[in-house]
Amino acid sequence: MTPHVVDVPVLETERLILRAPQASDFDVLAPFVMSDRANFIGGGVDKDISHAWRILAILTGHWPLRGYGVFVLVPKDGDAPIGSMGPWYPEGWPEPELSWTIWDANAEGKGYAFEAMVEIRRYAYAVLGWETAVSYIDAANARSIALAERMGCVIDADANGPDPDDVVYRHPSASEVLA
């Protein structure tokens, strides 16, 4: 069995570079994971720095296992990462997900997540060959629900998420997005 040698493409949008996670991302990721802003994704103020490190390793390790994974967003007018988003399909997930997380609170409210996710969804459909995609969102996460709706997602009441509190938002299909 030959391990994947993973080529992670660099995607680009008007304002953002989307690249593979790297070690230096820890400086921004770690404070996020240890804050209450990370409550929806398994972080929180009760988490320590070794937990945060494992999150970075997991985000990165998804790539060689699945051949795809999340991208880290870096604004072109800066050099610090602001979040991670993209295809996510760990064991226990009912189907592959398009996920998003903004690490840096100061980067919220600027449309970065929408801008990145439109390109990443196109990538998942056009390059990875996905025909459908879901996003699993905690019912209390109003900001993410608003983004899902802006992307044209609708609630799929017949699908289950990995967590009982998740609402499953289904994206427009590949044929709709790529048309």
Binding site: R54, T60, L65
Partner: protein, 183 residues
């Protein structure tokens, strides 16, 4: 708008090491099954288990991602003769560890034939000769007599204890320095 012009970060393949009887290689999705099986069992209690399949997969992703975050890591061990996946051995330095260690985990049925010794020695050679480490430790649960014995067989000596917030107290076994290993 889209540019697939450059390729970043993860293109470095994990080096494949070969010992007399085993191949040590990077991680693939085919490793999820043996990982889940090992971590479902009681033998995983020295390394944070037993745990669910979902958490075992997260552990596997952590081992894979370690390579890209640290530039080195552990390997999956395969039997050259049969192709069987025997364990997960190598170099390990997650945040919170006192210093980089040489670690070994053998899956069910792989014990008792020197798999850990042969592959841990290859890992130590890699750390000293390729990565130029000037020292190495192994962290061992004090109740894990098999691993303590293996540390001793590798020439390591007991060098105090390390108390981890979540994983508890572990014995520190200090390996011989590179010059002593080469001698």
């Amino acid at each position: 708008m889209t540019a697939h012009t450059t390729i970043s970060a993860l293109t470095n393949a994990i080096p494949v090491l070969e010992t007399e009887r085993f191949v040590m290689r990077g991680y693939t999705d085919a490793d999820i099954e043996p990982f889940a099986a090992f971590y479902a069992g009681e033998r995983s209690h020295f390394v944070g288990g037993p745990m669910s399949r979902e958490l075992a997969c997260r552990a596997l992703m952590t081992y894979a991602g370690h390579w890209h975050v640290r530039g080195y890591g552990r390997w999956m061990v395969e039997d050259k003769a049969t192709g069987a996946i025997l364990g997960n051995v190598g170099l390990w330095y997650p945040e919170g560890w006192p210093e980089p260690e040489i670690g070994w985990t053998l899956f069910d049925g792989a014990e008792g034939r020197g798999v850990a010794l042969e592959t841990a020695m290859a890992s130590r050679d890699y750390a000293f000769n390729v990565l130029q480490w000037d020292t190495a430790i192994s962290l061992v649960d004090p109740r894990n007599t098999r691993s303590a014995h293996l540390s001793q067989r590798m020439g390591a000596v007991h060098d105090g204890r390390f108390a981890h917030e979540r994983y508890g107290t572990m014995d520190i076994w200090r390996h011989p320095i590179p010059a002593e290993v080469e001698a």
